[in-house]
């Protein structure tokens, strides 16, 4: 009899445990949650050589099936956004193209081998390794929108025979207001164009000097892809900020010298813009006050 009671209690306990466990599994399966590492991969390779990179995909949602593919992307704007194309990577970008099942909380490493043949031309290839969830099956035939989720890692690939691809920069825009009110901040806008064969990052600064100013703004080292231009903000403690001098100018000429290198190349590109600051608003307010005082004086005189 005692044995029977014990078995019953154990059964009930295990039932409770299984209920709780099954609940948590259901919750995990309610979402699609994918992580990819690394999200960006920059590599330079000589034709005839081979490089292997492992990308890890982790599933923190429910069990699913993922299909990998590597497609070309093109910059969709001057801010680093991408537009994925349907053009697949060349066949010397090798990976297992077969869909694979990934369970909840599972992490799978996917190897990508880049092995450009000897005769590959020295150009950049801008690719995205994309993992796409499987198409959901509709059983109810309800009016529906079905959702697929993709997560991708960008691959910036430079092919170079000597490891020194041609790098060329053009300052498309470097401007600041020509005349500015003394109560305003001087804002600089910078767009750089890459006319070379390889992407690069600008390393440099904007030095602003004037009667009461001696400020240095550091350029954000963002990738500028070959054949494209990009707006370059400034950076402060790893945070992207507008290239703006926080201290307000007084009066006079404020010169801003832009200096940058392409990556760590020796060549320094330079240009300069000038802003004239004048206290328009202060003068306007002063004039207004004077007028008001004169009017008031006139009014009071008349009244007497």
């Amino acid at each position: 009899m005692k044995k029977y009671k014990l078995v019953t209690i154990l059964f009930l306990l295990s039932l409770l445990v299984s209920i709780f466990l099954s609940n948590s599994i259901v919750n995990a399966q309610n979402a699609i949650s994918l992580s990819i590492t690394p999200p960006i991969f920059e590599v330079m390779i000589k034709p005839g050589k081979e490089v292997r990179q492992v990308f890890s995909i982790e599933n923190l949602g429910g069990d699913t099936i993922l299909t990998p593919k590597v497609v070309y992307f093109v910059p969709s704007d001057e801010n680093g956004n991408v537009d994925l194309t349907e053009n697949l990577a060349p066949d010397w970008v090798m990976y297992d193209k077969n869909p694979f099942a990934i369970k909840s909380t599972e992490k799978i490493d996917v190897s990508l081998v880049i092995s450009p043949p000897e005769d590959t031309s020295e150009t950049d290839h801008f690719l995205t390794l994309v993992f796409e969830t499987e198409k959901p099956t509709d059983l109810l035939e309800d009016n529906s929108s079905f959702y697929k989720t993709q997560i991708g890692s960008n691959i910036l690939l430079t092919i170079s025979k000597d490891g020194n691809p041609k790098k060329s920069a053009e300052i498309t825009t470097f401007k600041a207001p020509i005349i500015i009110d003394s109560l305003s901040n001087i804002n600089y806008s910078l767009v750089l164009q890459n006319n070379g064969n390889s992407f690069w990052k600008p390393t440099g600064k904007i030095i602003v000097q004037g009667i009461n100013l001696n400020s240095t703004l550091t350029l954000a080292p963002l990738n500028i892809l070959s054949g494209y231009s990009r707006k370059i903000p400034c950076i402060n403690n790893e945070e992207l900020i507008d290239c703006k001098v926080t201290k307000k100018p007084l009066i006079g000429i404020y010169k801003a010298n832009l200096e940058f290198r392409m990556d760590e190349s020796a060549e320094i590109k330079k240009t300069e813009v000038t802003t004239f600051a004048f206290p328009f608003s202060l003068i306007a307010i002063s004039l207004l006050l004077i007028l008001l005082i004169l009017k008031l004086k006139k009014y009071l005189t008349k009244k007497r």
Partner: protein, 494 residues
């Protein structure tokens, strides 16, 4: 007779004792040790000194010799160290230029943050100087009289090459032959603490004698010019202005083990007799680079919304609201009479990334909603058995331009979506610009460009938005099963 013998013996003993006490000891002073004597280096890291193998002007890669020098690998060279390419004479840096280490390539090569402006001498040295200050603490056991001295002896290299004060770290085969380089040490860099019974003024200024590099050590001495320095006085001697250039490891050194050097402190009377004397040790050792790698990662979560309450993009959910899943929004059987509760559904997107340039999430649809998946040519619509993308209002919205769809969308039927921030401000537009400011989903079949719905140009920590879908049809919409496929794509900003 016996008494006399005892008296004579006693006198001999007394005289003997007096002679011993007052005459013989005068030839050697009684010497004691300081108590609590210690030496503290503000920077105990070895200087780095390796032989140059290659380092060509215009490049940023430097390769060192793998043997025969104080350092024969890059284990003790760290990113951000400042290096100098010393010439073989150790008379300065080649090109008078220093460089900063940007990264360590392997055990014999490293990168500099800027290209070398001058080719390094192949018989020269790669030097990363570690310098700092020295503090000596000790308590006198014996009073130092006026005219007495405090003498500090610091080990200097005795290699015979005269490099003890050239500003380049020194190395030798043994610690006995090696030492600290004190280039630039002057009297003003050394001070003695000011305490009652042993004032600093009483010591006067230091006399610095630098080692000759061949046989002598560095010495620093002070002379009591006024007032004595009493016994039991805790004294601190401080060397400032980072004049102490630590030695490089001795050749044959085992990395991780300190090389010990003895600094001698002594006080003397007015002559050369030692009063107190102690050796204190300092032990430079390799620095330890504590590093950890945090992988860059991009995460996207698409979550269902199935609650029966709450406001999403200004629309209140009820029990009759469609329950989305992560992979579908089942609208069910659509009524041509628009009701906020039944014609709106939502999903929640959450993104995290530590990628420095941030991320973007895009949305697209393969086509407009077609009956049984039929292709929706042109603008879609009922005539081609499609539920078209909404135009939102009199001024039409598009996949790239948002317009207010209003509280009652009956005049502008179709499918559209809006956005609301949950955490962060990453939504690219907001429903709250109007009553329900919306866009069309970019239709890939119509060659529209997929649109960003979440964007941030910096790392994001669980940034989250609601994507709020709305649908409406007319009473003349042909009956049938309509569907399309929507795709979210999360990619980093390059």
């Amino acid at each position: 007779m016996l008494k006399r013998k005892v008296l004579v013996l006693s006198l001999i003993l007394v005289f003997g004792a007096l002679i011993y006490r007052f005459i013989l000891p005068s030839k050697k002073t009684h010497s004691a040790s300081f108590t609590g004597a210690k030496a503290t280096l503000s920077n105990s890291r070895f200087s780095y000194k390796a032989g140059v193998a290659t380092g060509t002007s215009g490049t940023s890669v430097v390769t060192i010799d793998a043997s025969g020098n104080a350092d024969n690998n890059t284990n003790h060279l760290f990113p951000k160290d400042t290096i100098c390419g010393a010439n073989i004479e150790e008379s300065g840096c080649v090109g008078n230029t220093s460089y900063v280490v940007s990264s360590i390539i392997n055990t014999t090569s490293f990168n500099t943050s800027t290209a070398l402006t001058t080719t390094l001498e192949t018989n020269g040295y790669v030097v990363a100087t570690q310098s700092g200050n020295l503090t000596l603490d000790f308590t006198t056991a014996t009073e130092v009289p006026i005219g007495g001295t405090l003498l500090i002896t610091i080990p200097a290299i005795k290699s015979g090459t005269g490099n003890a004060n050239d500003g380049i770290p020194d190395t030798a085969a043994t610690t006995a032959a090696n030492g600290f380089d004190l280039k630039g040490l002057v009297a003003g860099d050394v001070s003695v603490s000011d305490i009652t019974g042993c004032t600093s003024a009483g010591w006067g200024s230091a006399t610095v004698t630098l080692g000759d590099g061949t046989s002598t050590n560095h010495t620093v001495s002070f002379t009591r010019s006024s007032a004595t320095c009493a016994a039991s006085k805790a004294i601190t001697v401080t060397f400032t202005n980072n004049r102490f250039i630590n030695p490089a490891p001795i050749t044959g050194h085992t990395q991780g083990q300190a090389d010990s050097y003895q600094i001698n402190i002594k006080t003397r009377d007015g002559g050369t007799n030692t009063l107190d004397n102690s050796d204190v040790g300092v032990s430079p050792v390799e620095g330890v680079l504590i590093s950890a790698t945090v992988d860059e990662v991009l995460s996207l979560t698409v979550a269902q919304i199935q609650t029966d309450s709450g406001s999403y993009c200004g629309v209140t959910r009820t029990a009759s609201s469609p329950d989305s899943t992560a992979t579908a929004i089942p609208w069910g059987t659509l009524s041509p009479t628009y009701l906020a509760a039944t014609h709106n559904a939502q999903q929640q997107l959450t993104v995290s990334t530590n990628a420095s340039a941030g991320y973007s999430v895009y949305i697209e649809e393969n086509d407009q909603m077609g009956k049984d998946g039929v292709a929706c040519t042109g603008n879609g619509g009922e005539s081609v058995n499609c539920i078209q993308d909404t135009v939102c209002g009199g001024t039409p919205c598009s996949e790239s331009s948002a317009q207010d769809w209003g509280a009652d969308p009956s005049s502008y039927v179709g499918l559209g979506y809006s956005l609301a921030n949950v955490t962060g401000t990453d939504a690219t537009f907001l429903y709250s610009a109007g009553t329900f400011t919306a866009k069309q989903i970019a239709d890939i079949a119509a060659s529209e460009t997929r649109q960003s719905i979440m964007y941030k140009a910096t790392p994001a920590d669980a940034a989250s938005i609601y994507v709020c879908y709305r649908i409406d049809i007319t009473a003349t919409q042909p009956a049938g099963y309509y569907y399309n496929k929507v795709r979210y794509t999360a990619v980093p900003i390059f």
